[in-house]
């Protein structure tokens, strides 16, 4: 990671004159997946594959189950599908392995059963199948557009917290996050609306100090550019270097508006977490414009505002949103389409496998409500399907690193040999 060439032309340019086919080629020429073959240049230095192996994520959406003589595979998401499968070949007997590119394009994994995609975009998918038949073959595509893996009860409004923060962003100083554009918007807002000054709370996601110790050279450059625009950066921005999940929901709940200034992303987690915490969002209307069909919004209606991809428009929208944030219903808008139960439903519905095997499938619109599945989950894991999905026993539902993944799957091998209920 990264593999391929990052599509830098799209980071800071609001639009491209290239034909769509070429744009797609550029975007799909990069992936954020982890590979056992390459070193990774990180903020802390170069990580070897041995070290990277400890960073592999494994999210269990559905555990493998056996009940009444029927075995069904589980579903798990990872950003290192090929690596995990090479290491533990039998994992495919237990799970449908879903690859995530952690970016805008389709993953590169050749061994995964499915690809996570950001949007359901038939034309782009058709192009992909024609141009990358070896990757598209036998794959199931799971669009995250109407299904997100945000834990909606962990990332939920923290009640009784006053709205002490006007605007929040959670973002690194990476170039593709457009930190300079954000700084320009803050500067314009202060000049244009001098009677309504505000500070942006910026959660950066990495530890660094007053002397910028902890930032990479690349990130220091971003800082310097922001400083050049704002002069006294601390007059405009209050930085929080790093925050844990509970702190994030607190910071978000204290905020009136959440803003993101990038043009290209994968399925940006921060925006969805903000919605889940009932915070309306602002993003540019060109966000991920090339990977979603025309007319398909990046976020659902009533979740916030979009604006033209330039600093003054962002400044105006920030001003408006700060005074009208109560008009939106972000959490409701989000949960009508997102949340983990819907994600489970989406995942299960795209694999024909489940419809063929699970009794009573046809009678329930929602697989989560399927009686057999509920009973099978309880029988096979000792906890309810709900508790599996919402991490009641995190040691069963998420792992980081090959060793931890092995600890999840090893006991599950038993399910393959004892198909009784």
């Amino acid at each position: 990671m990264p593999q391929g060439i990052a599509p830098k032309d799209y980071f800071n340019q609001p639009s491209s004159a290239k034909p769509l086919n070429e744009i797609w080629q550029d975007i799909h020429n990069y992936t954020g997946e982890l590979s056992a073959d390459d070193d990774l240049i990180t903020l802390q230095g170069v990580k070897t594959p041995v070290e990277l192996a400890n960073d592999i994520d494994w999210f269990v959406v559905l555990p493998p189950m056996v009940y009444e003589g029927t075995f069904i595979k589980g579903i798990a998401i990872t950003q290192a599908a090929d690596w995990v499968i090479d290491q533990f070949p039998m994992v495919r007997e237990l799970y449908h392995v879903v690859a995530s590119s952690c970016f805008a394009g389709y993953p590169w994994s050749t061994q995964a059963d499915a690809y996570l995609t950001c949007f359901d975009y038939p034309q782009m998918l058709e192009w992909f199948k024609q141009n990358h038949p070896e990757r598209a073959r036998n794959k199931v595509f799971i669009p995250l557009e109407k299904a997100d893996y945000t834990h909606e009860y962990r990332m939920a409004p923290v009640t009784r917290l006053p709205k002490t923060t006007e605007v929040i962003t959670i973002s690194s100083f990476e170039r593709f996050k457009n930190p300079e554009l954000m700084a320009q918007a803050l500067k314009i807002a202060r000049l244009k609306y001098p009677h309504s000054p505000f500070k942006l709370v910026w959660v950066v996601g990495q530890e660094f100090d007053l002397n910028l110790e902890g930032l990479s050279e690349r990130h220091r450059q971003s800082w310097t550019k922001m400083e050049a625009i704002l002069e006294h950066i601390s007059d405009y921005i209050y930085f929080i270097p790093k925050a844990g999940p509970y702190e994030v929901s607190q910071y978000l709940s204290q905020s009136k508006v959440a803003v993101l200034s990038s043009f290209i992303e994968g399925k940006n987690r921060f925006l969805h977490e903000a919605l889940s915490c009932n915070i309306p969002t602002i993003h540019f209307n060109n966000l991920c414009q090339y990977i979603r069909p025309e007319g398909t919004p990046y976020l659902p209606p009533n979740s916030g505002w979009t604006c033209a991809p330039e600093a003054e428009a962002l400044a105006d929208t920030l001003h408006h949103a700060r005074h009208h944030y109560g008009d939106m219903t972000p959490r409701q808008a989000f949960l009508e389409h997102g949340g983990r139960r819907r994600f489970l439903n989406t995942c299960m519905q795209v694999f024909p496998y489940y419809a063929q095997r699970i009794p009573g499938w046809e009678s329930q619109a929602s697989p989560f409500e399927n009686e057999w599945l509920q009973l099978a989950a309880q029988w096979s894991t000792g906890i309810s399907l709900w508790d599996n999905l919402y991490d009641a026993r995190p040691e069963l539902s998420m792992a980081r690193g090959l060793t931890a993944i092995e600890q999840i799957i090893t006991p599950q091998k038993e399910l393959l040999s004892t198909p009784v209920g």
């Binding site: 009860y153 939920a156 409004p157 923290v158 009640t159 009784r160 959490r331 409701q332 949960l335 009508e336 409500e369 009686e371 509920q374 009973l375 309880q378 029988w379 096979s380 000792g382 906890i383 309810s384 709900w386 508790d387 919402y390």
Partner: protein, 420 residues
């Protein structure tokens, strides 16, 4: 508790209808209740509070919660604020409708329109209550009580019951004797969880319990050849006990909401009862759902023995948990409670009968006030909001609810006026 005259005759006589009319039978049964009343100070710290849904004020709508107890009479006087926040359902802990009037709903065991019509006509002062079908929807936590996959079913027969005469364990003892005589090679044994510590010398048993013990000893002679006693099992360990049994027996004819048989079904253990159990209060409804067990057709030991034998030898053909969860369990119980109070159909946004567990508005409202999902409230996960015991704990809990709700622009009273 108890109040009224207990209908002893009905414990071991399934033919009362041969000498009495149905209204007379109903009068007998409904003359007794197991509720706690205001003059019974000794029970103040035994009152239960079970929250079904919490009160919420969200997007300008105030909705009362729903709770149930056996002490509404006491709570109505000592904790009147509770009723501002909750619809209170009272439970008689017997086959009868409750006696108290200071509540909004009554647990009844079954929907039985004829009996309900008789009751409303006979007791007009109690006829304004919402009737909650408690037997077909109870509050067993189906995720706490569930089968253990790695525990073998190495017990033939299990019962979980106090050592009281009305439980008819004597009949079960006689059925064991029949089983041993009919199938001597099988050596069937009953495991009996009594719920009370007692030892070899029985010194802890009270006289009425000793009567039961002596009767069993008389029938079985060598009681330990037939019964394995487990004096007491911690509640959290009960699922493991149920999961070991091939058959659960409930030999009584008159019960309130019998929890043990529900817990057994939850643990996928088939249940055997007499066909005549609660026959006068359930009309044509089944006591246990289809596929969850069998009923002995006659009220005699041989019929019970044959039914137990059939169940034990075919226990894998039953689907008790699946049958139970179709209509029962906490989620279904919550849905039914909300369906029965008309106010929710009028005021709960997105009201869809039997689907309230999927109601986004309600889920968001609960999250807004209490910081947890509706699901986690219903299943009481790590929160002291949905289950407490004793009047002082309930008073404190009401204060907590008031604080959580009052941290809004309005007081609870204002919220009610506002919604009205």
């Amino acid at each position: 508790m108890p109040r009224g005259t207990y209908p002893w005759d009905y414990n071991n006589n399934p033919n009362m209808h041969q000498t009495k009319s149905m209204p007379e039978i109903w009068t007998d049964i409904h003359a007794y209740t197991g509720e706690f009343f205001l003059d019974e100070t000794q029970f103040y710290e035994s009152i239960d509070f079970f929250g079904v849904i919490p009160p919420v004020y969200y997007q300008g709508i105030f909705l009362k919660g729903i709770m149930f107890t056996q002490g509404a009479d006491i709570l109505g006087v000592l904790c009147p604020e509770l009723r501002e926040l909750f619809h209170i359902i009272n439970c008689s802990y017997s086959a009868s409708y409750p006696h108290t009037t200071t509540c909004d709903g009554y647990f009844c065991l079954f929907d039985y329109p004829e009996m309900e019509a008789w009751f409303r006509e006979t007791y007009p002062e109690r006829s304004d209550k919402v009737f909650i079908r408690g037997e077909e929807s109870d509050f067993v936590n189906e995720y706490m009580f569930m089968p253990h996959r790695h525990i073998p079913r190495d017990m033939d027969l299990l019962t979980v019951s106090t050592m009281q005469e009305f439980k008819n364990v004597g009949v079960l003892g006689r059925a064991l004797k029949v089983l041993r005589d009919k199938y001597p090679k099988k050596q069937f044994k009953l495991t009996w969880v009594i719920g009370k510590e007692f030892g070899l010398n029985h010194t802890e048993l009270v006289p009425r319990e000793m009567v039961v013990m002596r009767d069993l000893e008389k029938v079985l002679k060598h009681i330990n050849d037939y019964i394995h006693f487990i004096p007491k099992v911690p509640h959290h360990e009960l699922p493991q006990v149920y999961s070991r049994a091939k058959c659960f027996a409930l030999p009584s004819l008159l019960e309130g909401r019998n929890r043990a048989s529900r817990e057994a079904m939850c643990c996928n253990t088939p249940v055997v009862t007499f066909k005549d159990i609660l026959k006068y209060t359930r009309g044509n409804e089944l006591y246990i759902p289809e596929g969850a067990g069998l009923s002995a057709p006659e009220f005699d030991p041989e019929s019970m023995a044959d039914t137990i034998y059939e169940t034990i030898t075919n226990y894998q053909d039953f689907t008790p948990r699946q049958s139970y969860l179709k209509e029962w369990g906490r989620q279904n119980f919550m849905n039914m409670c909300i369906d029965r109070f008309p106010v929710y159909a009028n005021q709960l946004p997105g009201f869809t009968p039997k689907q309230h567990h999927n109601n986004l508005w309600l889920d968001m409202a609960v999250q807004h006030h209490y910081g947890l999902s509706l699901h986690d409230y219903v299943y009481g996960k790590n929160i002291p909001l949905s289950r407490v015991k004793g009047i002082e704990a309930i008073k404190q809990l009401v204060k907590t609810y008031q604080e959580l709700l009052n941290n809004q622009p309005y007081s609870v009273e204002q919220l009610q006026q506002h919604t009205a």
